[in-house]
Amino acid sequence: MTHTLAYDLSHLLGGIVLVLSFALLYQRRLMSVINIYALQAMTLTAAALWQGYSQGATELYVTAIITLAAKGIAIPVALHRIVRQLKLHRAVETALGVFPSMVLGVAFVALAVLVVLPTTAQSQTLSREDLALALSVVLLGLLMMITRRSALTQVIGFMSLENGLILAAIGITGLPLLVEIAVAFLILLAAIVFGVFFFRIRERFDSLDLSHLDVVGRTQL
């Protein structure tokens, strides 16, 4: 089996995204969870850039820029603000312990590998491995949504799931509508982040009255 640099690097970046997904599951502090999410988005940016370069596909650069600007920077900053302004619990509340969820996570990864492995025959190795990695990230995101109690961590789980989707999308040569899908997802994410905001206010004050929050009330999010 010969390995080209294109293969190695994209595979490695995909692997880092996956490891960061595990880090999200492992981390117990909310701020660190947000930071790891940002890091994951940045790794994804690098993966998109690299795929764009090695496939010669310009639209991947657009995807990369969107990923970096929105998910690497804007959303984490917004989440940090939300945590600070709403004075949320800094500890992650889990429905299932960290270690059992890690074990489940590995089981999910094994499942992803088992599911994707039979496709050996026809598709090229690159797509196959990327698909296995991406599916793992998707399943881990799902797991995080299930095993975490608070809305914010669930949302981060959702967003890391979405990172897995983008990872799958950039790995396939000539996937149409990539940018459009990325933008559509971005809108979804932004909406969800606002959703968290409103939801958390309700959880906290039992009303959505923005006057409870002087600072945020003025900025009218």
Binding site: S123, V138, F158, L165, A168, I172, I181, A184, L188
Partner: protein, 483 residues
């Protein structure tokens, strides 16, 4: 490719979307209501021409299936906009929605309608996905409009569950594109229904299976098939009634159409799993779970939301049976149920305004002083329960007949579910209409407000009493396309 957007079929999509943008700038909610109605009427009129405008393009696909569903969605959109005119006026007078929320409501209503039509008429899986996502976001915002704790929680649940569904569907779409790439080459064709259909038989079986599982889970969430239905009752109970009426029919309808097209791909491929059993299983679970849950509901809108889950289950089950006959029955059932359920929700919305609450303890004895409303609601419930003069009896009978022919043992479960569900509906009908009367704090309901519901029920009745040759031929053509 983009010139396709200027052809007549595209107008059906562009009109509501353009109206949505305009409505965002209209301050007066009365004016907005009329514009909303006019645009919805225009969309419905435009959609009636779709069967004669069948096209297959890179972006749009107008075949009998999509044309039919588009007409249905546009028609329900039109009658609901009509209904919403009076309903929203009452809500605004009662002070439950302020002007800013009403502006959002009208704009989002049209945006929702336009996105649904786009999802139906698009020939591209990716575009359909984006459209469905846009529809979800608009519906979520509308559900949360009233800003009560329950409404926010409902819209949050709706958002998260459908968000996950939509994410899984995207993964399925990507895998499908990956499976198609070796045959169709990179580019737009890998996401186009028509070219996928030609490539279907040669695709890699395992990848196709993987795509199917994810798409089924994703769009199954949107179709509110059990056990993925959790968002539906909350969203129905908390959203403004017009939205419940549209939601009840269109989102599951659109999702089922997508699943139906996907079924065609799998059936054609020798290596792929049979799509029937998973669909039948999801359908049956929905029917049984929902019909049993019906007995424990206290909230009227939630009750009817579970009934929607049950009826969507029937359609999904019929789709799983396979074959032209069952598909015919499924499409017919979906159509009739969408019409009947929208009528029921319109009545329930009115009744809730009249009685000042939407629990069974609030709404009772409608027939004693609100005869038109009570009668219409009763007729609607009878129709949904699948009792003879109405068309749903025909469609359920057809589903049952096909089940007995193809899967005789499952007919027992199906029959059980339908009987339990129907029974629950009739039991509730009796308390709603003829129970002890509760006070009527809200404004009285004039019979003109019920005309849209009558229109729906008349259609359902007509199709139940006699099905003209041309209608049968039309449904057969749809089933043929979707085979």
């Amino acid at each position: 490719m983009l010139t396709e957007l200027l052809t007549p079929p595209a107008w059906v999509i562009l009109l509501p979307l353009a109206t949505a943008i305009c409505l965002a700038f209209v301050r007066d909610h009365r004016q907005a209501g009329w514009i909303n109605l006019a645009s919805a009427a225009g969309t419905a009129l435009l959609s009636f021409r779709l069967p004669w405008q069948q096209t297959v393009g890179a972006l749009l696909l107008v075949d009998p299936l999509s044309a039919h569903m588009a007409i249905l969605t546009a028609f329900v959109g039109f009658t609901t906009a009509w209904f919403s005119l009076g309903y929203i006026r009452t809500e605004a007078t009662a002070g439950r929605l302020d002007p800013w929320h009403l502006r959002q409501y009208h704009a989002l209503f049209q945006a929702f309608l336009g996105s649904m039509l786009l999802a139906l008429l698009s020939n591209n899986l990716g575009v359909a996905w984006v459209a469905l996502e846009a529809a979800t976001i608009s519906a979520v915002i509308v559900v949360g409009l009233s800003r009560t704790a329950e409404a926010v929680e409902a819209s949050w649940k709706f958002f998260i569950l459908c968000g996950v569904g939509i994410a899984l569907a995207l993964f399925g779409t990507i895998v499908l594109a990956l499976a198609a790439t070796p045959i169709l080459g990179p580019g737009l064709p890998t996401m186009t229904w028509t070219s996928l259909a030609t490539a279907g038989p040669q695709m890699h079986g395992t990848l196709l299976n993987l795509a199917f599982v994810f798409l089924l889970l994703g769009y199954g969430t949107k179709a509110a098939l059990a056990p993925l239905h959790a968002w539906m009752p909350d969203a129905h109970a908390e959203g403004p009634t017009p939205v419940s009426a549209v939601l009840a029919g269109s989102i599951p309808g659109v999702a089922l159409v997508l699943i139906l097209r996907l079924r065609g791909l799998l059936v054609g491929n020798p290596e792929a799993i049979s799509p029937g059993p998973p669909l039948m299983a999801l359908g049956l679970v929905s029917i049984l779970l929902a019909s049993l849950s019906l007995w424990r509901r206290r909230d009227v809108k939630r009750f009817f939301a579970f009934s929607t889950v049950e009826q969507t289950g029937v359609a999904a089950f019929a789709l799983g049976l396979g074959g032209v006959g069952a598909t015919f029955a499924a499409i017919l059932h979906l159509t009739l149920h969408t019409l009947a359920k929208a009528a029921v929700f319109q009545c329930v919305g009115r009744a809730a305004q009249l009685k000042g609450g939407q629990r069974f303890t609030d709404i009772s004895g409608l027939l004693s002083r609100n005869v038109p409303l009570g009668l219409t609601l009763a007729a609607g419930i009878v129709a949904v329960a699948g009792i003879p003069p109405f068309g749903l009896f025909t469609s359920e009978f057809l589903v049952m007949a096909e089940t007995v022919r193809l899967q005789p043992y499952l007919a027992i479960l199906l029959g059980l579910g339908l009987v339990i569900g129907g029974w629950a509906l009739i039991t509730r009908l009796i308390t709603l209409c003829t129970g002890p009367e509760t006070p009527n704090p809200g404004p009285a309901v004039h019979w003109t407000a019920l005309v849209p519901a009558w229109l729906h029920l008349a259609l359902v009745l007509l199709l139940g009493l006699a099905m003209p040759e041309s209608v049968t031929a039309w449904f057969a053509a749809i089933a043929e396309v979707a085979r």
